[in-house]
């Protein structure tokens, strides 16, 4: 029970500080993997990101349900998801009327200009963690994985293929993983 409450508290904090949508929740979950290895590993987190990208629903919500289920079963998933959405529910209800004025406030505008590059850095740091476990095993670079990474990075940026849904690249990588035995 204490463990469940602790998890809900962690997801409440994530919901409170993850500003900018789904991707912004990833650094917080990477932090969970660091502080609570008994709940999830970085490899688990990566699996969850792939599953969340390939299934319907907002990524942040999917990730919370998945982590909660992983740790405490069905009710863990429900509890984690509700904890994640609770802070924004409270905040939006409290400030719903003043929101338009808030958005035009120069202090708010300034804060968002400095916040966005910092959040970009946070997501990059989470990407770096997944990058390390995906491309290296026991300190050695996996050549096949490195080649696949470069190819996928190219295709997700190339103007002709960048609009394709992430599910396509996840499927390609799964097939490559099976064929070349990553």
């Amino acid at each position: 029970m204490r463990e469940l409450l602790l998890m809900c508290w962690e997801f409440f904090k994530t919901g409170l500080f993850a500003i900018g949508g789904g991707m912004a929740t990833i650094p917080f979950l990477a932090g969970l993997a660091q502080n609570y290895p008994q709940w999830l590993s970085v490899a688990d987190l990566s699996d969850m990101i792939a599953i969340s990208e390939s299934t319907p629903g907002p990524i942040g919500v999917n990730l919370a349900t998945y982590v909660g289920f992983h740790v405490f079963g069905v009710w863990g998933g429900v509890a984690a998801t509700l904890s994640l959405v609770l802070p924004s529910y409270i905040i939006l209800i409290l400030v719903a009327k003043a929101l338009d004025r808030f958005m035009k406030n120069r202090f708010a505008k300034g804060a968002f200009i400095t916040l966005r590059p910092a959040v970009t850095g946070l997501i990059a740091a989470a990407g770096y963690q997944v990058f390390r476990i995906a491309l290296f095993r026991e300190g050695a670079l996996l050549m096949g994985a490195a080649l696949l990474f470069c190819a996928l990075l190219f295709f997700t940026q190339w103007s002709k293929t960048q609009k394709l849904h992430p599910v396509v690249w996840i499927a390609v990588a799964a097939v490559a993983g099976v064929i070349f035995q990553f």
């Binding site: 993850a18 629903g57 998933g77 994640l84 959405v85 120069r106 740091a125 990588a173 097939v175």
Partner: protein
């Protein structure tokens, strides 16, 4: 009568949750169809405003949009039904997947597939970061005259420094992202009105 509106809100956002893959901007067409075209709960402009507010407030964008539109229609209870509606499909689908996946993870081919998928996830995140660097770090914030936060924010090095610091602190020292978010907000507030010297 009120219950009917609550169920409509729940149903509309349930469908939005069910048919949106990936979140963020990918949900906008579905929101437009349900909220603007089908029920007339908001105009297209109101929806876009609501969407940008959702991006700037904490939490998941889709959920925040649901809360705002639900609140606009039927106050607290409306917000509650819309919010629960948008998260219910995820809870059901992800629980089923998570429950079945555990039975397959020990198969060697499945393990190899997920090792491959990890590479794709790394590439997708790095790719998203490249796009975010272009829009959030390298691009000048929009000019809005006297209402703007001040000329200091035009400096590229300021945004670049924040990006690098945030990355390095979290990647190489285990500092909670909470401190980075709070620090970046405070930095922005402290710099408002600073003249470009």
């Amino acid at each position: 009568m009120r219950m009917k509106l609550y169920m409509k809100l729940f149903g509309a956002f349930f469908r939005i949750g069910l048919f949106t893959f990936g979140g963020g901007y990918s949900m906008l067409p579905m929101l437009q169809r349900e909220v603007v075209d089908k029920y007339g709960w908001a105009t297209n402009d109101e929806l876009l405003d609501c969407f940008s507010i959702s991006q700037c407030t904490p939490g998941v964008i889709a959920v925040n949009s649901a809360t705002l539109i639900g609140y606009k229609q039927a106050k607290l209870a409306g917000a509650l039904f819309a919010t629960i509606g948008v998260i219910t499909p995820s809870i059901i689908i992800i629980t089923i997947i998570a429950a079945t996946l555990q039975n397959f993870m020990h198969i060697a081919a499945v393990a190899h597939a997920f090792a491959g998928i990890r590479v794709a996830v790394a590439a997708l995140i790095v790719s998203a970061v490249i796009k975010l660097i272009k829009s959030n770090v390298l691009q000048q914030p929009a000019e809005d005259g006297k209402q703007g936060p001040g000329p200091f924010f035009k400096r590229h090095w300021l945004r670049l420094l924040l990006f690098i610091l945030s990355f390095a602190i979290v990647a190489f020292f285990s500092v909670s992202p909470i401190f980075i978010v709070a620090g970046a907000i405070l930095t922005g507030i402290a710099l408002v009105g600073k003249a470009a010297a």
